[in-house]
């Protein structure tokens, strides 16, 4: 309160008293407000009309009563929700653990692939082979091989837990994707940056660590989060090994009742989980844009 008073009491107030907007300016402002109101009204009306059209199109479809019964049954939704949420906990844990592993592995592979010098050729070759192979291999086949195939080898000390094996398969595939994202980031850093770092007396390793990687990673945040959202949805595929995730929990009820509502519930739960992540991506992107604009001004 005191702050407000001080502010009001300062010279600004007097200046405001002296200033009288011209008639033309007031007209202009009135016109703009009118236009804004009109735009809002038209927007609201158009939204309403669109909603009504969509509603009528769906509801007037000949199969609507049956579809409503099989996809939007309140009873089954109520039954499915707790089980789907219980399954979702598995998806969330897999996302957190695999997500961390993917980021670490991805950056290592990307760095290995961008190392210079003939001595690193085998490393570069292996990293390239890894990304080529696992990016090309369909995730579902990768999962089948790891979850169902690895235990068949009967290796001593290797787990047969389908969740751990499934997580391994997810990490293999996604670290290949993410490595390519990181590599693109590393290669997008202008060579002059590296040259400048070297001329300051930093070693190659230091230039990579303190100059190239920070810029590369920051630039790649949006595509990385994109891959993370994708990983989140694919965590459900570990259910081929018998683990019950959110989607399989819905499957179980659908199989018993032949009613699809649980799928809708599971779908919405995933969307609800994805939206905060998407908004976070947007926020990070916007913040980086602001920073870059600021840097440009200096």
């Amino acid at each position: 309160m005191t702050l407000d008073k001080e502010e009001l009491g300062s010279g600004e107030r007097d200046a405001a008293d002296d200033y009288k907007p011209s008639q033309r300016r007031r007209d202009r402002e009135r016109y703009r407000r009118a236009r804004a109101r009109r735009a809002t009204a038209i927007g609201a009306l158009s939204t309403l009309v669109t909603a009504v059209v969509l509603y009528l199109v769906v509801v007037s479809a000949p199969g609507w009563p049956r579809t409503k019964e099989t996809f939007f049954d309140r009873e089954y939704a109520r039954e499915a929700l707790p089980k789907v949420l219980e399954g979702l906990w598995l998806n969330v844990r897999l996302l957190l653990i695999c997500g961390a592993a993917v980021l670490v592995l991805g950056i290592l592979i990307a760095v290995a692939r961008t190392l210079r010098g003939p001595v690193f050729f085998p490393l570069r070759f292996l990293a390239a082979a890894y990304t080529d192979f696992f990016r090309g291999l369909p995730l579902i086949i990768n999962l089948m091989i790891v979850v169902l195939g690895v235990p068949a080898l009967r290796l001593q000390g290797v787990t047969v837990d389908p969740v751990l094996l499934g997580g391994t398969a997810l990490t293999l595939t996604y670290s290949a994707y993410v490595a390519e994202v990181f590599r693109a980031g590393i290669e997008s850093v202008h060579p002059s940056q590296r040259a400048a770092a070297r001329s300051l007396g930093l070693s190659n390793r230091q230039a990579l660590r303190y100059v190239v990687l920070p810029q590369a990673v920051r630039r790649q945040v949006p595509p990385l989060l994109n891959d993370l959202v994708s990983l989140q949805k694919d965590t459900g595929l570990v259910s081929i090994g018998g683990a019950v995730d959110a989607v399989r929990a819905a499957d179980i009820i659908v199989g018993r009742s032949l009613n699809y509502t649980p799928y809708i519930v599971a779908g919405l739960v995933f969307v609800a989980l994805t939206i905060p992540m998407t908004r976070f991506t947007d926020w990070v992107t916007a913040r980086m844009d602001r920073r870059q604009a600021q840097g440009g001004a200096i």
Partner: protein, 290 residues
Amino acid sequence: MHPAPRALRRAAVAVVLLAAAVSCAPQPEEPGEPSSSAGSTCEKGELATRTSGKLTIATDEPAYEPWFKDGKPANGKGFESAVAYAVADRLGYAKDKVAWQTVPFNKAFAPGEKTFDFDINQVSISEERKKAVDFSSGYYDVRQAVVALKGSKAARAKSIAELKGVKLGAQVGTTSLDYIDDVVRPAQPAAVYGKNDQAKSALKNGQVDAIVVDLPTAFYITGAEVTDATIVGQFEQQGGTPEQFGLVLDKGSALTSCVSRAVDTLREDGTLAKIEQQWLSDAVDAPVLK
């Protein structure tokens, strides 16, 4: 510039589009349009089938033994293939008038037009499922059985209580899974597989101690597929009504009563028993778990 008339024009366009969209939506089928006459009388060979003059029967792929043989439903071999042809014959469709179709289990009951006349896929009849589809009369009384690797702890179980500490698995959407959840109630939650094949490989690899399948499948698994496995035992029927497999028809299908009548006749004249004897003959005795 005249903003108001333009907005009006746009609104008019929107309304026209709306009207078009609504009128373009597919019209409801006339109820029983081609079927009302033929459907009620079950005239042989002249039912209101999807393709007139032909009977389209659906099942999933792969088609498992002993229900089908060699994965080819159309060869007439295997229990369900034989039943399907017997029903078709009873309805007045000779072998060459039967067309087979592959429909995944969880698509067989999707709303919307069906591409088949009936589906035969070891689907157990239940009151809950009857809300979504029509069932014919049951063509097979099924029992659920537990399969475990020979010499394992699970294989030595003599009662349901002894199975509580065992890691069990089953295929999703089966009554086998319901038996685990409702009858055994194991300490560890059941592993749930999309297909019996995955459950079998998990059993082989020791990812589960035992799996629950229907008895004929259990005999086939232990006899041909996982030969170092054994049938631990079968469950008793739960409740008063026996669990039965039924043919799946579209909800409100005009054919349901005809197909049901055909199945009933086949049961009465002993045809079903004969087919069962031929294809599921070894599925007779396994110790009952109490």
